[in-house]
Amino acid sequence: MDASQAIPVPDETRRAVFRTRALTKTYVVGEIRIEALRGIDLDLYAGEFAVLLGASGSGKSTLLNILGGLDTPTGGTVHYADHVLSQANDRELTRFRREHVGFVFQFYNLIPSLTARENVAIVTEIASHPLTPEHALEVVGLGERLDHFPAQLSGGEQQRVAIARAIAKNPDVLLCDEPTGALDSKTGILVLEALERVNRELGTTTVVITHNVVIGEMADRVIHLSDGRIAGITSNPVRRPAHELRW
């Protein structure tokens, strides 16, 4: 383990968007207790591109769900800016998601009955400072396919619509769960380029979950998770452009 992968010490000098301390999550399924997170201390900084890397069951999805306000921790605290997410109720979490978070799913989860533009609009309609749907789709390179329904788009295009939908409300953070998991590498890279562009142009804090090590190379920091704990954090002095990635 090299120096940069030492057990992380949060940097108190930078402005942290998310701050977790002693975060634990235990699921009880029937008579079995699953300790998905066993004490996570993590800061995520404004504008950074972070990759959560880990095998299945490492706890990366659980962590993302808690950060995104989809789940609540069993112990410890989560702060988002000056919100305490760990004590929020369902209504507050909905508002948090609505105002601050953009989600990108592995299987896109577009609404099949709405066109690309409308899929984006369904989010912009409820946001306070949104981009126009057209602009958001422009950012992901789909300015030409505004009026297509999901069934008329390829997998990569659908995922980019999903990204447009996530960024259109101008979120503070973008949470992506295996965004390239269902795509071939060529299409996957197109999607990553879109994420890269969003992060660079809009300054959106971006967190990507993956088990694909290569994707870590385009990140500011790679957080390795294993067994519900942070096994180490790697900082990349230079981020590799997405179009150079190969897997």
Binding site: F103, Q106, P112, F149
Partner: protein, 786 residues
């Protein structure tokens, strides 16, 4: 236990809410069917048992007067088994503590235990041979006045007052349906039938050694028309009015008409119910099975054959069908038993044989099961055709288009949610159509359930408020002279009086005949308003006859035609009368003429059968006393009482049935609404959870989900009204009888109630689903595709 068996038991348990809702739909259909069939079976069976045990007569005749020696030629008519030559005296009764005028019939007791029309003793005993003042009383009348063995009352027989003592309370097959001749509705307080020994009755009525009424029972295989013809010729010179068979006997006629109506009701209503239930069942089960696409693919991937999978789901559905059948049969038997008892009490049978034929229950179950299995087979086969790999793979996004409405330019006014709702409907129009139809059918049967209530109110309004304006109808024992009019006018409190003449006739047009009475009214009378088919008042013509619309149709005559009237009294002339018009009437089969014209046609016997009176309500009781003192008064019908007894009759009878139907229709509505919403939720859970993750509130996704059901429900309600109206029209046509026709009337409150039932069940289902929306698994959607 094999794994698949465990699976179906557990799944049945997991979907218990939906399964129960479906089971209730099945149960409602079965219950309706059983109630209707069983009630009718029980009534017919009880009737035939009662008729047999009391030797109900086959032929009936009245005459002026004949010596008892005439019995022997009657006995010799081929085919006649038993004869009872009786004395029947119209009487007015004086019941202690009851001031209204009461009329009745006093009859001789059956001659021997083998004679026709035996009495069934309910309490006390028959009069002993030497008890001259002893009578037995018909039970309905006895109950209405709390008469018991030992009670006393008085009768005016032929103008002579006679004190009587009750020794027993009886039932007679002749008076199962006790109604005063000429009345529309029974009135047990004001009309009674009593029996006493021959000697005192003959003496009081001036019939010593004579009779004026005869009943016959026939030997097996005897020809009824032949016997009637010979009896008529025997009695012609004794003033016989013309013999009739059971068909035309008042009580039996009413009973058969009632049973005929019930039978029509019992056939049509359950068929509508059962087919609606079957249709809904088919839709709901198809959807339920469609949701099982993935588990089915997994089973197939493991190597289970299509047949094994089909069998598995058939068992699942069988479980639901069994649950529904058990509830349906038990509830049906219970309600049918209760309803039969109400009917038997209404008809005054001494006992009730409850009949539930296994065939009835099995038919109902078979129809439901068939519908359920058809839905199952169809859906399983459709699902089984998809290769397992494809079924397990995330479904490609379904193809959507802009809906017609949007292309028409409404688009910019619609939110994304509204667009989703419209496009979802437009993408699967058949599915949306079926939901729509399901809700519409539920709404239709609730609407139909209100038909009878509205129709009854409408009939009362028409009959009593718009047509009959007389407070009292006074009928005379014999045709009275025109002096009776002057006498009636001079009674205290009489504001207006109009004459009435009723002549019993058989109307004939070719082979079509109907026995009724020619009613002679004052041509410029104001106490009886006849209405034409457009419900406008019609004047009674100077000559010619007005027929009620149903009678005109029955005789196949139109205004301008003529009918033959065979008069059944006096010199029995046969008349040819032009039909001047048709009047709309919902009760009875009547023919109206001007009283003067009628009297001109009957030259031998000018006179009146009764008078219509408008009276000052304040002194109405005094009029009763005056009327009672007059021996020629046979009876008094009081309008207010007639309305009340009509209501009671209807309440006892049709309305109970209608209420049961309404409850069952409501059950079906709730079952359907709940299932549609519930299925919509499971179909779109994933999409909705995604929207929740994106930050939409529960309310916002609730709008998207429930908006679709809500929109369909709102469209379905008026369609349901239309279907309900069509069902009602069909029922009304099938129920039409000589007693009454059900007008097709559905009032706004009935429509409102139907809409309310549907909307409330939609809201209840919606609330439940809304509650479920709060428990959507948001985390799962990030990883799982369907």
């Amino acid at each position: 236990m094999r794994m698949l068996d465990r699976k179906w038991l557990r799944e049945l348990w997991q979907m218990r809410g939906q399964a129960l809702a479906i089971a209730l739909v099945i149960a409602s259909g079965i219950t309706t069917f059983i109630i209707s069939r069983s009630t009718i079976d029980s009534l017919t069976y009880t009737q035939s048992r009662f008729y047999r045990s009391t030797r109900f007569a086959d032929v009936f005749d009245s005459l002026k007067r004949a010596p008892l020696a005439v019995v022997s030629p009657i006995r010799e008519i081929p085919g006649v088994a038993r004869v009872d030559a009786r004395v029947l005296a119209p009487v007015t009764l004086d019941v202690p503590g009851f001031s209204d005028p009461v009329s009745g019939a006093l009859l001789t007791l059956p001659e021997s235990p083998g004679a026709p029309n035996q009495l069934y003793l309910r309490a006390g005993r028959l009069p002993g041979p030497d008890e001259d003042d002893a009578v037995v009383v018909n039970e309905s009348f006895a109950d209405a006045h709390h008469l018991k063995p030992g009670s006393r009352l008085a009768a005016t027989i032929n103008g002579r007052w006679k004190s009587l003592v009750v020794t027993g309370v009886v039932l007679s097959p002749e008076y199962v349906y006790l109604i005063r001749p000429g009345d529309f509705f029974p009135d047990y307080k004001r009309y009674g039938v009593l029996w006493m020994n021959r000697r005192p009755l003959s003496a009081a009525y001036g019939m010593d050694g004579a009779f004026n009424n005869v009943v016959l029972s026939l030997a097996p295989g005897a020809s009824l028309p032949a016997v009637i013809e010979q009896l008529d010729s025997v009695l012609a010179r004794w003033g016989g009015v013309g013999a009739i068979g059971r068909e035309d006997q008042t009580s039996h006629h009413y009973l058969s008409e009632e049973i005929k109506q019930l039978r029509a009701q019992a056939t049509i209503v359950p068929i509508i119910f059962l087919s609606v239930a079957a249709f809904l069942l088919n839709v709901v089960i198809s959807r339920l099975i469609h949701q099982q696409r993935v588990p089915m693919a997994i089973l197939k991937a493991f190597g289970y054959s299509n047949r094994a999978i089909l069998f598995h789901y058939m068992k699942l559905v069988t479980g639901i069908v069994i649950a529904g059948s058990v509830i349906g049969v038990v509830a049906g038997a219970w309600l049918a038993h209760g309803l039969s008892n109400i009917y038997s009490e209404f008809f005054r049978y001494p006992y009730m044989y409850f009949v539930l034929r296994p065939g009835v229950a099995l038919t109902a179950i078979a129809i439901s099961a068939l519908a359920a299995y058809a839905g199952t087979i169809h859906s399983v086969m459709r699902a089984a055709q998809v290769p397992p790999a494809q079924a397990l793979h995330p479904e490609a996004p379904p193809v959507f288009h802009e809906s017609l409405l949007e292309r028409a330019g409404v688009k910019r006014y619609l939110s994304q949610g509204a667009r989703m709702i419209l496009r979802n409907i437009a993408r699967r129009p058949i599915k949306a159509g079926l939901t729509l139809l399901g809700v519409a059918f539920s709404c239709a049967i609730v609407t139909m359930g209100g038909l009878f209530n509205d129709a009854v109110n409408y009939m009362i309004d028409l009959q009593f408020r718009r047509s009959q304006h007389a407070d009292l109808i006074v009928t005379f024992t014999d045709t009275a002279s025109s002096r009776a009019m002057a006498e009636a006018r001079s009674l205290p409190g009489v504001v207006m009086a109009e004459p009435m003449r009723a002549v019993p006739v058989r109307l004939r047009n070719g082979y079509r005949t109907y026995r009724t009475a020619l009613q002679g009214y004052a041509p410029d009378g104001r106490l009886n308003e006849l209405l034409n088919t457009r419900l406008q008042p019609v004047r009674i013509p100077r000559s010619g006859v007005l027929l009620s619309d149903y009678l005109a149709r029955r005789l196949a005559v139109e205004p301008g035609d003529a009918v033959t009237a065979e008069v059944l009294e006096g010199a029995r002339p046969v008349l040819r009368i032009p039909v001047s018009g048709v009047v709309r009437e919902f009760a009875g089969m009547n023919a109206y003429m001007s009283v003067d014209a009628l009297n001109r046609l009957m030259p031998d016997e000018h006179g009146l059968s009764g008078v219509f009176l408008r009276v000052d309500p304040a002194i109405q009781p005094r009029i009763y006393t005056e009327l009672k003192a007059r021996p020629k008064v046979a009876g008094v019908t009081i309008r207010a009482v007639a309305i009340r007894s009509f209501h009671e009759l209807m309440a006892e009878n049709i309305l109970i049935y209608a209420t049961v139907m309404l409850v069952l229709a409501g059950t079906i509505a709730v079952g359907v609404m709940y299932n549609s919403t519930r299925v919509a939720l499971s179909e779109r859970e994933f999409e909705l959870a995604t929207l929740r993750v994106l930050g939409l509130t529960r309310r916002e996704i609730g709008y998207i989900l429930l908006g679709e059901t809500g929109l369909l429900t709102l469209i379905a309600i008026p369609i349901g009204f239309a279907i309900g109206w069509a069902f009602s029209a069909y029922i009304a046509v099938s129920l039409a009888s000589t007693l009454y026709r059900v007008p097709i009337v559905i009032e706004p409150p009935t429509l409102g109630r139907a809409a309310l039932v549907i909307i409330l069940s939609a809201i209840a289902s919606g609330l439940y689903v809304y509650y479920r929306l709060g428990r959507l698994d948001l985390v799962a959607v990030l990883k799982i595709r369907e």
